[in-house]
């Protein structure tokens, strides 16, 4: 039997084409092994071989999901591979969404075994973990070796059509699939053992974790917007020039609260972006492109809204831990509520 033919998907960064300034490149295919593909290929030890690498810019993919998906599918199809691998995307949000989208599409529409890999907090995980195998990685490319060592065995098993074990055994993110198997202890015995552990305050592993549906019900609509105070919040990193609070360009550990009294609009003279996860040129040129102070100020003068809240809040949503973002927003929400704000516009890049 010959080697399994593999098509690999990566973004512009891992292809060595460029950073954020190249994030808008369209899909292209190269019949070579590139970047992380080298480590994967080495890991296959001759059992499989990357025959082509598809490259696409993260912003292009996310801004044109349907077109990008169709274009990449066409490219993959042309090589009729036995296996498709995307990533690893680690904690890069747009890359994770692209990897998840295309892995799901290849599996569903082309019927080719496929897998990807990313960090558990990548938004691509919640979107696709039920439908595809996502190997759990660390949150940065420093975890490449670890990621590859977990991806290779699962990839080969998928290509061979072998039975896939539990998420713990195979290092993928749990898909919420229940499987029947025989065990030496019956259910009642296991349940009692678990209960005793729980009573003693010891660790135990549930056999059926409850799904986590953390949804918040929408608040009632604003009755009279012409009397309402509207506040601006952004994860797009708009800060006063010089970034006085030193908000980090990625994995932000804080947020800022900034006074915009007297500002009719934001300009390159007084504001900038601190975000390191998108091409900053446009936001630095005119920060209103991310935080629309100009328009809201006009509407305030025209009486279309009651008031633009005196302070806006900003952080950098770039690989920022979900736990941190949640903590920031809890505080921001409470402050805004206490300040008598009626509604919030939150912008994201």
């Amino acid at each position: 039997m010959g080697k399994f033919r593999v098509v690999h998907y990566i973004n512009q960064f891992f292809a060595g084409i460029g950073g954020e300034e190249k994030a808008d490149i369209k899909p292209e295919v190269r019949e070579t092994v590139i970047g992380p593909g080298m480590a994967l290929n080495a890991g296959f030890k001759g059992e499989a071989e990357i025959v082509a690498t598809v490259i696409c810019g993260d912003s292009y993919f996310n801004e044109n999901i349907e077109e990008a998906k169709a274009e990449v599918l066409e490219m993959v199809k042309k090589y009729n591979p036995d296996l498709f691998i995307a990533g690893p995307a680690f904690n890069a949000g747009r890359y994770g969404v692209a990897c998840g989208t295309i892995t799901d599409a290849v599996q569903k529409e082309l019927g080719i075994p496929a897998l990807t890999a990313m960090y558990e907090e990548n938004p691509g995980v919640d979107m696709f973990k039920k439908s595809i195998y996502i190997v759990a990685t660390k949150n940065s490319a420093a975890g490449m070796r670890d990621a590859v060592s977990k991806m290779v065995p699962l990839a080969l098993k998928l290509a061979k059509g072998e039975e896939i074990g539990s998420p713990e055994e195979e290092n993928y993110i749990a898909r919420g699939i229940r499987k029947n198997f025989f065990t030496d202890k019956r259910g009642s015995e296991r349940a009692v053992e678990m209960l005793i552990k729980k009573l003693k305050g010891e660790e135990f592993i549930t056999e059926y974790p409850m799904p986590d549906f953390d949804r918040v019900k929408p608040n009632p609509a604003v009755k009279d917007i012409s009397k309402a105070t509207i506040a601006l919040v952004t994860s797009g990193g708009i800060v006063p020039k010089g970034n006085p609070d030193h908000i980090e360009s990625s994995s932000a550990s804080k947020y800022g609260k900034y006074d915009i009294e007297g500002f009719d609009n934001l300009t390159s003279e007084d504001h900038q972006t601190a975000h390191g996860g998108y091409d900053p040129v446009y936001a630095n040129e005119d920060p209103d492109r991310v935080l629309p102070v100009d328009i809201l100020r006009e509407m305030e003068k025209e009486g279309k809204i009651g008031k633009l809240h005196r302070y806006y809040y900003a952080t950098v949503g770039n690989g920022t831990a979900v736990k941190s973002a949640k903590a920031f927003a809890e505080k921001i929400g409470k402050e805004l509520k206490e300040a008598g704000v009626d509604a919030v516009i939150l912008t994201s890049t």
Binding site: A228, V290, A329, K337, I345, S348
Partner: protein, 77 residues
């Protein structure tokens, strides 16, 4: 973030380009925007047209805030 602000009792509209991410993080009122590096602008337009575009998007966001929703809603047009 959008979810925690909603939990604090404030109606919030999420203006963003990658709608699937917004849906995944649990935003209830969503207005799709132009592009990731310039959600509320378009450098290819002249300044007047760009501002008109931004105004349209903000008006849409305000409409979303004035609309009662039961569930996650994407305000397309």
């Amino acid at each position: 973030m959008v979810k925690e602000i909603e939990r604090a009792g404030l109606p919030v509209v999420h203006m963003c380009t990658v709608v699937p991410i917004s849906l995944t993080v649990g935003a209830n009122r969503i207005v799709p925007t132009v592009a990731i590096p310039h959600p509320l602008g378009n450098p290819a337009l002249n300044p007047e047209d760009e501002k008109a575009l931004r105004r349209k998007l903000v008006e849409k966001a305000l409409r979303a805030l004035q609309t009662e929703v039961e569930d996650q809603t994407v305000f397309e047009d």
